[in-house]
């Protein structure tokens, strides 16, 4: 792998240049304190203001950049009387500063939205994307990140176009694809060649970063257990009872793709929209007749864990859990995938 280098002080310039060609999504710290992935504005003044807030520190960003492709709410099409007007296809996107686990989530969703029927809304946004990942030196959600257990971080081995390795004053840049290479060439002035010893340095940084991830679970064992015959009824019932059905774990999950569809209209004009939905909700499976195959809380809980750890894995070879820990950090009653894995692999009660 060729290793390049970019000075931290050149990041803003890189983004400034990129914003001309790309729709750039990057972590920006808002005036009110939280860091969120945001599309950088094209207009110069606004862009400069946004660039001031660019934040590549290891911070808890509440929603992964999945919303660049699959927003919480989006228009599917408009209609006027009986005429249907499709929404325009968006331009190509650069996801800058995506974390390794989140990048895995995006790659997972790419496959899902491609499979069988193609989902035009997602794919038209995702197909020409460029992902510039940044590895985590320390876990952004220290109590919850367990990427080393699932081998989804703190650095990517593949799947990225470029990956930034924080080496103090500069980022060492790994090139993971032709697209990534083209991007480096297009901004050749900013990307410098690395020194000889810097490949070693990358290795050291990565191994230190991996050591910094404290939370460890036996992920592989969990996948094995879920694949085989098992009975976790007690766990599912207990978790289902504890859950307050906010949907947060699904909304924040980088691989959750479920949506609801809703119509709205006024007079002749109207719109069909879709928004995030999830399997923990009772109404999610309730049929018009009133029959509901997952009426019970425990069955909905079962669905959630089996989907991520069993069905996704058996269908794609990839677990639906990418070990970001967000389900735990956004759960008001502290339910989380890592805790569930601990329960089924050790028999300990964690929730």
């Amino acid at each position: 792998m060729t290793l390049k280098k970019i000075l931290k002080s050149d990041i803003k310039e890189l983004l400034r240049q990129s914003a001309k060609e790309w729709e750039v999504y990057a972590p920006v710290t808002a005036e009110e304190g939280d860091t969120l992935f945001t599309r950088l504005p094209k207009e110069k003044g606004k862009l400069e203001k946004a660039l001031q807030g660019i934040n590549l520190k290891d911070e808890w960003v509440v929603i992964s950049p999945k919303d660049a492709f699959f927003p919480q709410l989006e228009d599917m099409f408009h209609f006027d009387k009986e005429k249907i007007i499709d929404t325009p296809s968006p331009s190509k996107k650069l996801i800058f500063g995506v974390r390794p686990c989140d990048a895995k989530g995006i790659l997972f969703s790419d496959e899902f939205f491609k499979k069988n029927y193609e989902d035009k809304y997602y794919l038209s946004r995702a197909k020409d994307k460029l992902m510039i990942a940044v590895g985590c030196l320390t876990p952004p959600r220290p109590e919850a990140c367990f990427c080393t257990s699932a081998k989804t971080g703190p650095f990517l081995e593949s799947g990225f176009d470029l990956q930034l390795v924080d080496a103090g004053g500069a980022y060492l840049v790994e090139i993971g694809s032709d697209k990534g290479s083209e991007f480096v060439n297009a901004h050749a002035k900013l990307f410098k060649n690395s020194e000889k010893d810097e490949e070693d340095k990358v290795k050291k940084i990565k191994s230190k970063a991996a050591e910094a991830v404290n939370l460890k679970v036996d992920f592989e064992k969990a996948l094995e257990i879920m694949k085989g015959k098992n009975d976790f009824t007690e766990n599912y019932e207990r978790i289902g009872e504890r859950c307050i059905y906010c949907g947060g774990c699904l909304y924040v999950c980088p691989t959750c793709t479920c949506f609801n569809v809703l119509d709205d209209k006024k007079g002749d004009k109207g719109v069909r929209r879709r928004n995030w939905d999830g399997c923990v909700f009772r109404g999610y499976t309730r049929e018009a007749s009133g029959h509901n195959p997952r009426d019970k809380k425990s069955l909905r809980t079962t669905r959630r864990y089996e989907h991520k750890l069993k069905y996704d894995y058996s269908a794609t070879g990839m677990s639906g859990c990418i070990a970001c820990g967000r389900c735990l950090t956004s759960c008001p009653v502290k339910i989380g995938m890592s805790k569930f894995i601990e329960e089924i692999t050790t028999g300990k009660r964690t929730m």
Partner: protein
């Protein structure tokens, strides 16, 4: 694309959430990680708070009713008409012939302006809002005992408490992010949970003791707990001596409330009462948490005073993770009270009957002759429409057709209104009776502040422009004032209103917008240097010494009899908000709870041959509704519960307009009904 921190529009938790704007659409609501209440979490309503904003049913133009039908009107025309009518009415029939309903959904600034409009421009104290229907008893009861009618402690203190006494609050449904803190405390820190509630609520499964009292007998069990505590010598004698007054009278009154006597009144087994009393009294960090189940009674003020007595008796006020904690329902019901959208007080609870306060506001507003008598309250205003004493009514963001007791009575009164203005985001059931409808901006479309249940005044921030010609409520109120010839309501933005509020409202004195960034401050915050007050009554009560105000048990107004043999209680559910104007337009929420229902105990359902899901008719002396039966052990035998959200089977057709004599709050929690199979 823009992402801005704002405050959730639903309950009093006041979670910080980022609204996400893209292409003019509000496409998301994400929890703030750094906000002290949300901490990266939200409840399902918060997560979905973006959706209704985009509804194409939003009001986008002023409407004027002509020959029984609405037509689009220009702003200028609508405002002029309002000014003309209101001026004519007051000229003919006096200032008190008009009234104003403010709103706990709107901002502090807007509530302040609404009461300023009523008082400064129209010289009436007929201004009130729905706090009257939820926590009027709290404001009165806690002010009398402690000196301050608000939640004593703060939300994060729930994470440290070792005991909770929860009564009349279905906390996980109504204040989910407080409910979750209670669940975590019980499950992870072994905090003890005591519940007194006629219904089995979600939290009941975590309770060490669940006392299922008969509806409307709260004073009795609270007195009973105090009886046990005093009998066993568990009261905090030093605290009582040092910080309170009137203990002897309390001791005298609760003497007769023996566990046996209390069991007779409340049906609570005496062992449970004793255990609850001991646990509460002997745990240092013990919080009393209550809500509408305590306040919405003809004895609402008595109930609140009794809880305050209990907390003082055990020395549980004035320390972290203790106190008496009324959970305020609406996102800004605390603020609407603080800012004086009440018939008896100006902002900061300064009494209209106090000449010094009047003088102060006359000077600040540059007017003369502010009225000194207390105005009409919400339910009184509606009734006064019926008997012609109030001829013109201006309603901002409230929907009394669905939310007020005895709907048929409300309808008759609204029909009789000579001139009704309704200002809202949707054409509500109430707006249908209006002569002029004004389209208001939603919380996503304006700036301002909300004050949450823990007295935290925090910012809301505009992320998109209002739809069509809709305008922020504060702008509309200013235009009305101007059209009426008043020159004292001109502001360029909401921070200027807050500057005025600061000057006249001591508890908000230090709350400049600059200081409210990013996560707000809790009042009292009297000066720009003051850090705010997470918990009240530290070292001494706001009023000096805390007053024990013992109250005897009084029966509810309407108990069941042979014909109307069920007790009906009404309330909210997790998925919906109030009259469903917003949550009914939120797909996930509406899907979870699309239809009205009545909860019936399996024993009663069995006797009547009613199956789960079957339609039943529920009748009170005031009307009837038809809705699906939900057969569940959540309610006690011979009682039933109906969520009040649904216009399709409005619970408030049934409820009684009997009110607490002091707080004027209606008894939503007890009335007599009969249930029939259809």
């Amino acid at each position: 694309m823009d992402k801005k921190l704002t405050t959730c529009i639903y309950c009093g938790c006041g979670c910080g959430l980022y609204l996400v704007e893209d292409g003019g659409l509000v496409v998301g609501a994400y929890p703030s990680v750094k906000h002290p209440v949300s901490k990266g979490c939200l409840c399902v309503k918060g997560w979905n708070a973006y959706e209704f904003v985009n509804s194409m049913e939003r009001l986008t133009h002023p409407l004027i009713k002509e020959n029984g039908k609405f037509r689009k009107a220009a702003w200028d025309e609508a405002i002029k008409l309002i000014a003309k009518k209101f001026k004519a009415i007051t000229k003919e029939s006096g200032s008190n012939a008009v009234a104003f309903l403010s709103s706990a959904k709107t901002t502090n600034e807007e509530n302040y302006l609404m009461m300023k409009l009523a008082r400064a421009v129209f010289k009436t104290n007929n201004v009130d809002h729905c706090a009257r229907l939820c926590h009027a008893s709290t404001v009165v009861g806690l002010a009398a005992t402690f000196g301050s009618g608000a939640m004593t402690n703060s939300i994060n203190e729930f994470e440290e408490a070792d005991c909770f006494l929860i009564t009349g609050s279905d906390t996980t449904a109504q204040h989910p992010l407080i409910g979750s803190r209670i669940i975590n405390s019980v499950l992870e820190r072994s905090a003890k949970l005591l519940i007194a509630d006629p219904r089995k609520i979600e939290l009941s499964k975590y309770a060490a003791v669940h006392m299922q009292q008969k509806n409307g007998t709260d004073v009795a069990w609270v007195n009973g707990m105090m009886h046990v505590i005093i009998k066993e010598g568990l009261e905090d004698k030093a605290y009582i001596a040092l910080r309170t007054e009137g203990f002897e009278a309390l001791k005298e009154l609760v003497r007769e409330y023996t566990p046996e006597y209390v069991e007779k009144i409340t049906t609570i087994p005496k062992e449970k009462l004793i255990e609850a009393a001991r646990t509460y009294a002997t745990t240092k960090k013990a919080m009393i948490v209550y809500s509408m189940g305590i306040t919405q009674h003809t004895t609402g003020v008595d109930n609140v005073k009794s809880l305050a007595n209990l907390a003082m008796l055990t020395g549980h006020v004035g320390f972290p993770s203790t106190g008496v904690n009324p959970l305020r329902g609406q996102n800004n019901v605390q603020g609407a009270c603080d800012l004086g959208a009440l018939a008896n007080v100006y902002s900061g609870y300064q009494k209209v009957t106090d000449p010094t306060a009047r003088k102060k506001f006359e000077a600040a507003w540059n007017v003369e002759g502010l009225p000194g008598e207390v105005g009409l309250t919400v339910t009184e205003i509606i009734s006064a429409l019926g008997n012609g004493k109030v001829r013109g009514l201006y309603i901002m963001g409230e929907n009394p057709m669905i939310s007020d007791p005895d709907q048929n009575h409300v309808r008759e009164c609204l029909e009789k209104a000579e001139f009704l203005v309704v200002q809202d985001v949707f054409l509500t059931d109430t707006a249908a009776y209006a002569d002029v409808v004004l389209p208001a901006a939603s919380f996503a479309e304006k700036n301002g502040t909300f004050t949450n249940t823990e007295r935290r005044c925090e910012r809301i921030r505009k992320i998109i422009p209002p739809p069509g010609e809709a305008k922020a409520d504060w702008k509309i109120l200013c235009e009305v004032a101007k059209a009426c010839g008043y020159k004292g309501m001109n502001y360029n933005d909401t921070s200027e209103i807050m500057e005025e509020i600061r000057k006249v409202t001591p508890i908000y004195g230090g709350m400049s917008y600059k200081r409210l960034d990013p996560h707000g401050l809790s009042w009292p915050c009297p000066s720009l240097e003051h850090p705010g007050t997470p918990y009240l009554h530290k070292d001494k009560f706001s009023k000096g010494k805390g007053s024990f105000l013992p109250r005897p048990f009084i029966e509810p107004k309407e108990n069941p009899d042979d014909e109307f043999n069920f007790i009906l209680s009404t309330g909210r559910i997790y998925w919906h908000w109030h009259t469903r104007t917003m949550t009914g337009r939120t797909s996930t929420l509406e899907r979870e709870a699309p239809a009205p229902y009545v909860e019936l105990h399996p024993e009663d359902a069995g006797k009547m041959g009613i199956r789960n899901g079957e339609k039943v008719k529920v009748t009170s002396r005031r009307g009837h509704v038809e809705l699906a039966a939900r057969v569940t052990g959540k309610v006690a035998v011979k009682s039933c519960f109906i969520p009040f959200h649904y216009r399709e089977a409005a619970a408030n057709v049934l409820t009684i307009n009997a009110i607490d004599p002091i707080a004027k709050i209606p008894e939503y929690k007890v009335c007599a009904v009969k249930v029939e199979k259809i």
